[in-house]
């Protein structure tokens, strides 16, 4: 290389500066794994001082499960089988914590082409790996939720399509039930599936029915936090009650109305939660699907089951009354 002395020094200085100040970790590493030269950024990544790091090898700080893959590729590199390699692996930080790095290794050769040492570029990807892990957990959780929802839909279908029911009616009811399920899903998604307030659940379930006539529903009650499961089942139950009221109950006649109320009552260290659906000025009706139908099964078995409580369905002369009672440890979610 024909350089004037000054220019050569200037260039060498520039190369040093590039190595030292690179925004990725840089190192020259012997074939035995000893660090020959390291830059500030690498020291930053692994937490060692320059003196400390130069005393140890990369094997010392590499996670044992990642070491063989690294050594294999290093061997292939030195033999000349590959020109360079890149891998993601784990180092132990000086404080003992695991860090993920992206490692790219090339080779420095002498004038005769004999390998001299490795040139490694090391990038801290711990945060990216953590994000990938969060995403994986989220996708797994979503998959589980979808499977669960499909199982719920299967159960709704199973109970909606029964031998003795005309298919067109069953289809309309099934669609309405899916709609109720979907509305509850929207609500839970807004709440990041942490649960939902009982008022929002009832409001959402009544939305389609209120479009027809707002004035006939009287809804009142304190805030009570419901688990996602309880919220889903209650939404389905309110949909059944409202559908039934419109078709056969208090909302099928001009003067009928529905009162929906709930409360939380402290009792000897526990809370009693009561939810009531009371129809007024309506005809006396029973759940038309009778026992074993989806509506009555949902109201008398599934909802009290999911609330770990009890339910009573009364066919009063002025209209249907439904009462759900559950005992909870003080202030716990349902």
């Amino acid at each position: 290389m024909l350089h004037q002395r000054g220019v050569f020094h200037q260039e060498a200085g520039l190369i040093d500066a590039t190595f030292e100040n690179a925004a990725v970790g840089m190192a020259h590493v012997s074939f035995q794994g000893r660090w020959l030269r390291v830059n500030e950024k690498l020291l930053d990544i692994v937490g060692y001082s320059r003196e400390e790091l130069l005393q140890i090898t990369f094997q010392d700080i590499t996670h044992p499960d990642d070491l063989d893959a690294d050594l294999e590729q290093l061997d292939a590199l030195i033999k000349g089988d590959i020109p360079a390699y890149t891998m993601e692996k784990r180092y132990f930080h000086k404080d003992g914590g695991l860090i993920w790095i992206n490692l790219t290794v090339g080779l420095q050769r002498d004038e005769d082409g004999e390998p001299l040492f490795c040139i490694s570029a090391i990038e801290d990807i711990t945060e990216r790996k953590a994000n990938e892990e969060r995403l994986r957990v989220l996708v797994d959780e979503l998959n589980h939720r979808v499977k669960n929802t499909l199982a719920t839909v299967q159960a709704i279908a199973h109970m909606s399509f029964r031998k003795d029911e005309p298919i067109a009616d069953a289809r309309a009811e099934f669609t309405s039930r899916l709609h109720a399920l979907s509305g509850a899903h929207d609500l839970l998604t807004e709440e990041k599936w942490m649960g939902a307030d009982i008022m929002s659940v009832v409001d959402r379930a009544l939305r389609a029915f209120r479009l027809a006539d707002e004035t006939r529903f009287h809804v009142a009650g304190p805030r009570i936090r419901l688990s996602p499961r309880a919220a889903l089942t209650l939404a389905m139950a309110v949909n059944e009650l409202a559908t039934n009221a419109v078709k056969y109950g208090a909302l099928s006649v001009p003067d009928g109305s529905v009162q929906i109320a709930w409360g939380r009552f402290g009792k000897e260290g526990v809370d009693e939660i009561v939810f009531k659906w009371i129809e007024s000025n309506g005809p006396e009706v029973s759940m038309p699907d009778g026992s074993g139908g989806f509506g009555s099964t949902l109201l008398e078995r599934i909802l009290p089951g999911d609330f770990q409580g009890e339910a009573e369905l009364e066919y009063a002369p002025t209209g249907l009354r439904y009462t759900l009672t559950a005992i909870r440890p003080r202030s716990a979610d349902i």
Partner: protein
């Protein structure tokens, strides 16, 4: 865990914390002709039932809210009662020294019938073998 005659079990336990799914499975089993179907929604209730009732088959939802049904599986295995897991999750925590077939939710009607009348469960692979 053998069922040499490929008979339908008479007393079946369902362990499932979602009542909607339990009610459906109970209806399916009764329609198939199972004489007695019991349901437990919590670990404590399930263990209590297993201790009291001579079941000859069980469906175990793995995830029961904050609990899981692995202790029920152990209690059933101790009594030589056949069972299957049913879950929306992968088979990850089935591998705690217990091996039983895993049915993925939603459950298929055919697979329910198949596991009920299976001649034997291969407890190593979790596979079901059938005669004929």
């Amino acid at each position: 865990m053998a069922n040499p005659q490929n008979l339908l079990p008479e007393k079946v336990l369902i362990v499932e914390d979602e009542f909607m799914l339990a009610v459906m499975l109970q209806d399916i089993l009764e329609t198939l002709g199972v004489r007695q179907v019991s349901h437990a929604a919590t670990l404590a209730d399930a263990l209590d039932l297993v201790a009291r009732e001579p079941f000859d088959f069980a469906f175990l939802d793995i995830n029961l809210g904050k609990e899981n049904s692995i202790p029920v599986a152990r209690a059933l295995a101790d009594r030589d009662i056949r069972f299957v897991f049913a879950s929306g999750y992968d088979a990850k925590f089935v591998a705690e020294g217990i091996s039983a077939p895993l049915l993925r939710k939603p459950l298929g009607l055919d697979e329910i019938r198949t596991v009920l009348t299976a001649s034997d469960f291969d407890t190593q692979s979790g596979r079901i073998s059938r005669i004929g």
